[in-house]
Symmetry: C2
Subunit: 219 residues, 2 copies
Amino acid sequence: MAPDAVWLRAEGSGIGRPPRYTRDTVTVAAVRAADRDGLAVLTMRSVAAELGTGGGSLYRHVAGRNELVDLMVDHVAGEYQLPAPSGRWLDDLVALAVQGLAIHQRHPWLTEVVGTPVVGPNGLRLSEHVLAVLDAHPAGDSQKLVAYAVMNALISSFARTLHGTPDPERSQAQAAYVAHVLARGEHPHLAALSPESPQGPDEVFPDVIRRVLVGLLEP
Amino acid sequence: MAPDAVWLRAEGSGIGRPPRYTRDTVTVAAVRAADRDGLAVLTMRSVAAELGTGGGSLYRHVAGRNELVDLMVDHVAGEYQLPAPSGRWLDDLVALAVQGLAIHQRHPWLTEVVGTPVVGPNGLRLSEHVLAVLDAHPAGDSQKLVAYAVMNALISSFARTLHGTPDPERSQAQAAYVAHVLARGEHPHLAALSPESPQGPDEVFPDVIRRVLVGLLEP
DNA sequence: CTCCTTTGCGAACGGCGTTAGCAAAGGGTA
DNA sequence: TACCCTTTGCTAACGCCGTTCGCAAAGGAG
């Protein structure tokens, strides 16, 4: 028998010793620590220390680290503002993607989360809203879901390149290797790349999303 | 002083006790173990056991686990077949993306690798080839690089949905929660989704890639 | 006041990545 | 052949991680 999902397990039965932390308290502390230090160094003990307690105490409110990450992801998914559809689905989706990129910049650890997309209350609300925006669109369901998935993939991808590498030593070593290979004269197209890009990735992002969505949803 | 990248450090100086394993031997064993068990349970000790030795022995050939993963990624990037550009850049790029999806299906652990794209010899070869395919295209460098990044992001995203979740219990719990929320009557668009998709994601993949690339690279 | 349920918390367990120290294996030199 | 020198293989150990367990503490019900 599989255990219930987090969002189906009630908390605070009302009887017994009253809880000092809630599931949300733990989640907020974890998000704060991850915003500051990143997800790789986020341990149960560090989250507990954020609350002034020991590592084992969290397991009263959270089944484990993975579940805590799920809670964190859905928590920041609640930062999406979902205005009523304007009737112009393309504008609405682009605005949504821009919001997603902003959320990723506020919470850079989001790009370190791998796995399948977490569907908590806020994730479902977002999915529902995307489908509502596309309600009048003649495309089929699977086509709309693919567009949604592509949108999310591009948000993550752009956010990753915007953050840069979290390990400066690694990027330096890689840059040195690339320079060494390019100096050998092979890979002429790579060597001919202009080192400066005319505009940053965050400037072209809305246009990229718009073009991609047009390509996917305009016949 | 940052240490050199893996691909700049020579191995096998010719003097001293001859090595029993090479960097490539370790990489191949790690790829084999990851293909079988996944990246999450791939430990230094398990890779070493694949070679019949102890965990600490690997550090003679590899600086650490992260570097081993880099080697693995670049190793499987060598599976790309890079034929001469045909002159039809769109067909060439779509074929390349289909190859990438096949590589991800042969090595499902690739989707678990996060971080920045690894640039080893094979990764550089692939990038060079993409730029060669787009050589005659009038788009600017940054536009081509964005298209390349989008292509890779979509390959990973599609591969992830194709593999399904690695944890069946988790997906079952999430499905139960989604059913519970949908039964409450909110989220009408989500509830109205047809449970069956007319065609699998791998069938629509080439068309999706083609549409996205057209949207990005056709004015 | 006493029971009962729930929570907080520290210690402990197994496993992980990584390191240190030493034995082993071959080439160079006489 | 015998000896040195360099490089490799391997085991034990360290510190840290996620997780579990057992018990003390805190409040409501009777």
